[in-house]
Amino acid sequence: STSTFDFASYHTLDEIYDWMDILVDNHPSLVSKIQIGQSYENRPLYVLKFSTGGPNRPAIWLDTGIHAREWITPATGIWTANKIAEEYGRDPSVTAILDSMDIFFEIVTNPDGFAFTHSNNRLWRKTRSTNTGSHCIGVDPNRNWDAGFGGSGSSSNPCSETYRGPYAHSEREVKAIVDFIRGHRKVKLVISIHSYSQMLLFPYGYKTAPVPDHQELNELAKKAVSDLAALYGTKYTYGSMVDTIYMADGTSIDWAYDNGVKYAFSFELRDTGRYGFLLPSTQIIPTATETWPALLDIMVHVLEHPY
C-alpha cells in the first residue's frame, strides 16, 4: 500500500519503480504504467498515465529528474503523482482536469544518471552515454533537444556539465519523450521540473525574441508563483528562460513550444540557500506541498483555454 511508503524520504530507483506498481494497484481504474523506451543502460523509461477513459484525449505531460542529482524533483514528483491519484473525485479541479484530459508523468526521466547518483557519484547530472573520442561520460539531457540545438547556450565539450551531445535527440531518454509527444499529437501542456533556484520559466531559452504567447504565459506564471508563495512565503521569479536565468540552447520546453505545445513551463524548485542539490529530505513535503497549487493553476488554465 502507498500508506507504507515514506514520501518524506529519498528513495532509490528500484524503490521508486516498485512504488509506481503500488500506485497503479491502488488506483487501477485511474492510473496505469506505460514504458516509452529504454535508457542508454537499458533501464525501462516508465511513465504514469492518469486517465479516466476515452481515446486520444488532450493531455498534460509532467516530468521530473532529467538532471540526476536534483533529487528533490523525483521526490516531489512522487508526492504529486500520489496527490493527483488521491484527489481525483475529491478535489473539483483535479476531477475536472482528469474528466477531460489525461496526465502523463515521467517521475525519473534520467534513470541511468539517477542510479549512478545512488551508487557512484551523488552529484552526477548527465546521462551515462559514452562519447566517442572522449574519456568523459554523459550528455546534458536538457541541452539535447532540437530547439536551437548547438548554439552558444550549451557546450560542445563532452567534459562539460552542459554538453549538448553529438546531435539533437542523441540521448535515448530524450528521444523517447520526443517520439511519445509527437506520436500522441494532443499534448497541450509540458511542465519539466528541476531544482534549485526558485523560478518558473517559459520559452524561449535559445533566443531573446519573446514567444507569441508571452503575455499569457507571463500572466499565468505570475499567478502560479503567487499561489505557490501563499503556503510558506517562498519567493519565485518568473519569465522567459533567457531573460530570467540565462541563454540555454536545446531545452525541452523550447522544443515543446516549437512543436506546438503552447503551454510549456520549467520549474526550478526551492532553494533554502544552504543546501543546493543536497536539500534534506525534511524539505520534500514542504517543497511538494507548496508547488502543488502552482501546478494546479497551470493545469486548470490549460483545461479552461483549449486550443
Binding site: S3, T4, D6, A8, S9, Y10, H11, S119, N120, N121, R122, L123, C159, E161, Y196, S197, I245, Y246, G273, R274, Y275, G276, F277, L278, P280, S281
Partner: protein
C-alpha cells in the same frame, strides 16, 4: 564511490560584468575541477560553485584578489552526503 571530503560550495556575488567574465574564465580552468551549481549570469545574481578540496585555496585567493565577495554555502559536501545516507538508512529501518 566518489567522495567529496573537504569540498565546499561557495556562494558568490558578482557585482559587475567584469566579475562575471572572471568567474567564467575561472570555470574554464579544467585542472581546478570546478562545478557551477548556479552559473554566472549577470551582476546581482548569485553564483554557487562547488570547489574540490585541493582547489579551494587557489579559488579563494582568486576571488579575494579580484574583490569578488563570497560566503561558504556548504562547509564540507561529504558531511552532508553522510547525513543524507544516514537519514535514508534510518527511514528504511522504521516500520510504518
Amino acid at each position: 564511490e566518489k567522495l567529496f571530503v573537504g569540498d565546499q560550495v561557495l556562494h558568490i556575488m558578482a557585482s559587475n560584468e567584469e566579475h562575471i567574465t572572471l568567474l567564467r574564465v575561472l570555470g574554464e580552468q579544467e585542472e581546478l575541477q570546478l562545478d557551477f551549481w548556479r552559473h554566472p549570469t549577470s551582476p546581482g545574481h548569485p553564483v554557487d560553485l562547488q570547489v574540490p578540496f585541493p582547489s579551494l585555496q587557489a579559488v579563494k585567493i582568486f576571488l579575494e584578489v579580484n574583490n569578488i565577495s563570497y560566503s561558504i554555502m556548504i562547509e564540507d559536501v561529504q558531511e552532508l552526503l553522510n547525513e543524507e545516507k544516514k537519514t535514508m538508512k534510518k527511514s528504511r529501518r522504521v516500520e510504518r
